[in-house]
């Protein structure tokens, strides 16, 4: 079994999708889910393979490592691929059928996202990032929200060019693009040029990862694009970019300067995101700002050196990838001003779903959100570095602010004075229901999940495993 299929299958499907649709619409509508399902099975198969035989590296074209492109397949990358494919598959449920271009872009964004986390070559990462970026501009414009998408495009294009500049700087001073090869001599990248390159890459990838200075597109796009697209971009795609940042931190920039840079951006993201969410008057906007805050938390976790930070980051990312898409899908029926939500509690199922998701996002004990935040606090406390211990205050304040704005929404929902709005159709709730079911399954299996996360994180934090395949 070869991990290249995870990237090739969706691309092949996307190339052929318009042709098949023209021949037979019935078959065409099933291609997307079929390919995603196949990828999911493949990814699970690979997971077992790796558990049995250890990490795989795949050489493209059979050229040995530093010269050709390498895919590096470990549990961490596979976990994010599974998350992306599974999430997209769930979001596919109840989708209005027959929009060929949107389905093509969805397949391609999955291909790009999978390639992004699997690739072990900087320029290859750039190419996949570009696929993801261009596809997300198109998807953001899919409902006629052209102004938001255009601003997103301009910011994203600036970010992509800075990312390319950073990669070019790294190539200029080292002469190689292979991550493992670069990791053999991390000291070359500790100088001014190397750190500048890291900052540029951080800004570039930060556009998708919703990092602090380059996340201005988030509220606008998430309020105007369709709920499904907001769920995909905010819940799933953003994590792929963050994982690349984590890989760079572990392999190339294992220094306090780089860690503190990411930490600062993460803290600023949490503070600005949560404060803005409290002021927002539009339900989608609240969710958009809260996703900036949550991704800031993931960035903080990833900036903690060692496996403890990685565990916390993965837990936060997975939790957010379950909860935020579900919340966005709930807003499909009532994505309006907050005051329009009055009387939404009439629909019992929706209310219960919303409450569970909000409570988990805030971090109320039995729900997984609590464990994710707890892991972050534990990791930060264990570092014995003053900066990280201050972060704990930030996280706790953020939690309080989250409680305030979610409870305000809930209060409006239970206000029955004005005529209640109509309840969303059951069919629209299906994706959210699936996500919540997954959430509950994860509550029941917290012990096993925690243990496997620990294994994933320790192997991801170990540079020597990554560099093993180099023929040096």
């Amino acid at each position: 079994m070869n991990a290249i299929w995870l990237v090739i299958l969706p691309i092949l499907g996307a190339f052929l999708l318009p042709l098949v649709y023209r021949q037979n619409t019935r078959v065409g509508t099933w291609i997307g889910p079929f390919i995603l399902g196949l990828s999911l099975i493949l990814a699970f198969g690979l997971w077992g393979d790796i558990a049995a035989n250890g990490v795989q590296t795949i050489l493209m074209g059979g050229f040995p490592a530093p010269v050709g492109i390498v895919f590096y397949v470990d549990h961490l990358a596979l976990l994010f691929v599974i998350m992306l494919v599974l999430g997209t598959l769930v979001l596919w449920l109840g989708k209005e059928k027959g929009n060929i271009q949107e389905e093509t872009l969805l397949l391609l964004i999955v291909a790009g996202g999978s390639g992004l986390v699997l690739s072990g070559d900087l320029f290859n990462i750039y190419v996949f990032y570009e696929i993801v970026a261009v596809a997300s501009y198109g998807l953001a414009a899919s409902r006629g929200s052209y102004a938001a998408s255009l601003r997103f495009l301009i910011l994203g294009a600036l970010g992509s060019s800075l990312l390319l500049l950073g990669i070019a700087l790294i190539y200029a001073i080292t002469g190689t693009l292979n991550l493992a090869h670069l990791a053999t001599h991390p000291e070359i990248l500790q100088g001014t040029v190397g750190l500048t390159a890291f900052a540029l890459i951080l800004i570039g990838l930060g556009v998708k990862a919703e990092l602090f200075p380059v996340n201005t597109w988030v509220p606008e796009v998430y309020t105007t694009a369709s709920a499904r697209i907001s769920a995909l971009l905010g819940g799933l795609i953003s994590k792929m970019a963050l994982l690349v940042i984590l890989r760079l931190l572990v392999l190339l920039y294992d220094t306090s300067a780089a860690h503190l840079l990411l930490l600062t951006l993460g803290v600023l993201g949490v503070i600005t995101g949560e404060l803005a969410a409290m002021r927002a008057t539009h339900l989608r906007q609240v969710l958009a700002y809260s996703s900036i805050g949550q991704l800031g938390l993931v960035a903080i976790a990833f900036s903690i050196p060692g496996p403890a930070g990685i565990i916390a980051g993965i837990a936060l990312a997975l939790h957010h990838a379950l909860v935020k898409p579900a919340l966005f899908m709930l807003t499909k029926a009532w994505g309006k001003q907050l005051s329009h939500l009055a009387g939404a509690s009439q629909s019992l199922l929706t209310t219960i779903l919303f409450l569970v998701l909000a409570l988990s996002l805030i971090g109320i004990p039995p729900l997984p959100g609590f464990w994710a935040k707890f892991l972050l606090l534990k990791g930060a406390l264990a570092t014995n570095i003053a900066a990280y211990q201050m972060v704990i205050t930030v996280v706790l304040i953020a939690t309080v602010i989250e409680t305030i704005y979610f409870m305000r929404i809930v209060r409006v929902m239970f206000n029955t004075k004005p005529p209640p709005i109509k309840a969303p159709a059951l069919q629209e709730l299906v994706p959210a229901l699936v996500f919540v079911t997954l959430l509950f399954i994860s509550v029941l299996n917290l012990g096993t999940i925690g243990k496997s996360l620990e294994i994933v994180a320790t192997s991801a934090a170990d540079k020597s495993i990554y560099m093993n395949f180099l023929p040096l």
């Binding site: 190339f15 059979g62 198109g138 052209y146 001073i173």
Partner: protein
């Protein structure tokens, strides 16, 4: 205010780049650079006279597939934004006799030039992307001269889809045959011959057809849906 912040950002980025470029050493510390290894190995391993195409299609073939995909994504996104052209949309009148004859006259020459650049991609500078752009121009100029005879979008998207799939299928054949995706097939042949470098010319043909059909379809779509 916006202007000021933009100015500050630009000046800051400029200063940063000056500092960085001043401290660049251009020494390529690790192994003396991948480039020199490829320069040494490429003629033997891949068998191309043009080293650049060996990098594009053999050493970094996956990147080329990625670039093809980026172009496809962009075209799809543009199609999504533009929507379907209305059949009753007003069309421009045809250009005069001179322009139309010139467009007809140019057409075969541009096709030949595009095909030459694509097919000799492994020998001389150029290749699929450049030749594809010329092919697209060859199909677009007649549309400009006589808008009443539009491009057949069915054919262009058929060519595009099949050419893209052909690239992937050649890669998958290599996966089954040699165990590596996009590994060069069919031996290297004699360096400098037209039929050499194994499966690389085939890959370039797929790239050229895809890029040409894609760009021609994109230009025609932009032109047709004008208001």
């Amino acid at each position: 205010m916006t202007l000021l912040s933009g100015l500050i950002f630009t000046i800051g980025l400029g200063l940063l780049l000056i500092v960085v470029i001043k401290s660049l050493i251009f020494e390529q510390v690790l192994t003396g650079g991948i480039g020199s290894i490829i320069l040494e190995q490429a003629p033997n391993d891949v068998g191309t006279a043009n080293i650049v195409s060996s990098v594009l299609l053999a050493y970094r073939g996956l990147d080329t597939l990625g670039e093809l995909t980026v172009l496809f994504v962009a075209a799809t996104a543009v199609g999504l934004v533009l929507g379907q052209p209305r059949p009753d949309a007003p069309r421009d009148p045809d250009a005069g006799f001179i322009l139309r004859s010139a467009a007809d006259l140019l057409f075969p020459f541009m096709i030949i030039l595009g095909a030459y650049i694509i097919l000799h991609g492994h020998l001389t500078p150029g290749g699929g992307f450049q030749g594809g752009a010329i092919l697209a121009a060859a199909f677009f100029i007649p549309i400009l001269a006589s808008p009443s005879s539009p491009l057949n979008h069915k054919v262009s998207s058929l060519v595009e889809g099949l050419a893209g799939s052909a690239f992937i299928l050649i890669g998958l054949l290599a996966l089954f045959d040699k165990g590596y995706f996009l590994a060069p097939l069919l031996g290297t042949g004699e360096v400098g011959e037209l039929f050499s470098a194994g499966s690389l010319p085939l890959l370039y043909l797929a790239v050229g057809l895809k890029v040409g059909a894609e760009l021609a379809g994109l230009l025609a779509r932009l032109h047709e849906t004008e208001v």
